[in-house]
């Protein structure tokens, strides 16, 4: 059940989004796609989810030609950046959606769906929120509902697009550790996109550093940090301490006068 992406190229009308991207990840890996905005990381994630198709190249997952599998049959749990919860459904209906749209023969009974929803609510620590609507939840809670909804279909592949992008630093740190633990418990292959290299390195088994539609370097966080292959990677990894000092400098200038 490994993931193999080979020479994927994707062009949008004006600009190339992916310029020949290849990577391999073993079953159960937690893979981070990290890079500045416009580097093609979200496009690659959407291709894995079947929401976008490459112009050339191939994707294999679980020994299937993944591109031949329609999005609705992939069982790829997708967690969107803005959550994309169904606004008119309660939390329980949101989470149960994937089960309730199954063809009649594979569809669990109402009671079974309700039971599974309860389980998932417990898993994401939202017991008692079943009857709320998404607009009655905080950002972190919405995020967890989106995750529970994606997990309800027993995904073979979990895809997360900037899962913590819209949350404040404290909630982000909390959810991060929790997501990692969850990933290990479920044993599925997960791919997540982030522009925050600190987040990528703290969470992932493998990181792909992307820039301008290409993977600059791909490997374990330790390897990448120890031996950056390109000038871009080295610079990208240094950005955090560099930025911090710049911000401190700015603050000093502003407040000392």
């Amino acid at each position: 059940m490994s993931l193999v992406v080979d020479s994927v190229v994707k062009r949008f009308e004006r600009f190339p989004a992916l310029n020949g991207v290849s990577l391999t990840a073993p079953q159960g890996a937690f893979l981070a796609l990290v890079g500045p905005s416009g580097s093609g990381k979200t496009t690659l994630l959407r291709i894995l989810g079947g929401l976008e198709f490459p112009d050339s190249g191939s994707v294999h997952f679980a020994d299937l030609n993944w591109l031949d599998v329609p999005a609705r049959d992939r069982r790829a749990g997708f967690v969107f950046q803005q959550y994309a919860l169904f606004k008119h459904m309660t939390v329980a209906q949101n989470i149960g959606f994937g089960l309730s749209v199954r063809p009649r023969r594979q569809r669990p009974s109402r009671r079974e769906i309700a039971r599974r929803v309860e389980e998932l609510l417990a898993l994401v620590q939202l017991e008692g929120f079943a009857k709320r609507y998404p607009n009655q939840l905080s950002g972190g809670q919405r995020q967890r509902v989106a995750l529970a909804r994606a997990l309800a279909i027993e995904p073979r592949l979990l895809l997360l697009d900037e899962p913590f992008g819209a949350l404040d630093a404290k909630v982000r740190k909390e959810l991060r550790g929790w997501l990692r633990a969850l990933h290990e418990r479920m044993g599925i292959t997960s791919v997540f996109v982030t522009h925050d290299q600190e987040e990528a390195f703290a969470l992932a088994d493998l990181v792909a550093i992307m820039n301008a539609g290409k993977i600059e370097q791909y490997g374990t966080p330790e390897d990448v940090r120890r031996a950056p292959k390109t000038a871009f990677v080295a610079e990208f990894l240094e950005i955090v301490p560099h930025q911090k000092s710049a911000a401190g400098q700015y603050r000093n200038d502003r407040y000392s006068t």
Binding site: G49, G50, L51, A71, R72, D73, R74, R75, A76, G77, F78, F80, Q82, A84, L85, F86, K87, H88, F97, G98, V101, R102, Y133, P134, N135, R149, A150, A152, I153
Partner: protein, 282 residues
Amino acid sequence: MKHWRSPTSDHPLTRLVFMLIAVSVVATFLVLPLATVFSEALSKGFSVAWTAVDEPDARAAIRLTLMVAAIAVPLNAAFGLAASWAIAKFDFRGKQFLTTLIDLPFSISPVVSGLIYVLIFGLQGWLGSTLRDWDFKVIFALPGIVLATMFVTFPFVVRELIPLMTDQGRDEEEAATSLGASGFQTFLRVTLPNIKWGLLYGVLLCNARAMGEFGAVSVVSGHIRGLTDTMPLHVEVLYNEYQYVGAFAVASILALLAILTLVFKSLLEWHFADEIAATHRH
């Protein structure tokens, strides 16, 4: 202590002036004419007005108007839904052109819209002789009136839905697909619930205009009393014959239908306020 005014609120006097202007405009241009319609209709008493509405030609006009609306509005709701779905959710060549084309009925004079159909389906028109051979009447008959009404009222649903659907984006549909929903399930369970209030509003506007359309229908109807006269046309006929009570009585029914439409909409909004708030983007 000084009393500070919020930066976005105006001086009380300014507010009063603007309110007075708004109220007087509404009173002069909306309430007064509407009241006149009813008072003229009832000027010789209720029974006279009722007799004017209850005669065969008036009844035929009411029946025809309701029938035209009952055919044209559902069809336009379906076409409008399809067009806005295509425009808001997909990218394709000529999309801009299609959007402009949909606005055409709003910018064309209704009389011209009616003439178009006479030129196509009329006896001297492109399809005239063929239709005569099949013995199928379009112009000066129900099909022509329905066609003209549909043409004029087509933009209402689409104009309501396109901004709404564009604004909502494709995220929820993509989520539904990735969770295993088919296209039809996605439409029925995600798209439709999200747009139902916009759709309803468009349908109500469309309905109000469909019942009230005069120009386009006037050209294709042929004014056959008791057969192809709709309510607005019947009002004009009566008025030209100096039957003021009759004209205003039929006009009152038209106005009542419009008011009923608005009341219906308000009732729905009031009853489903919570749900509307929930589906509103946050």
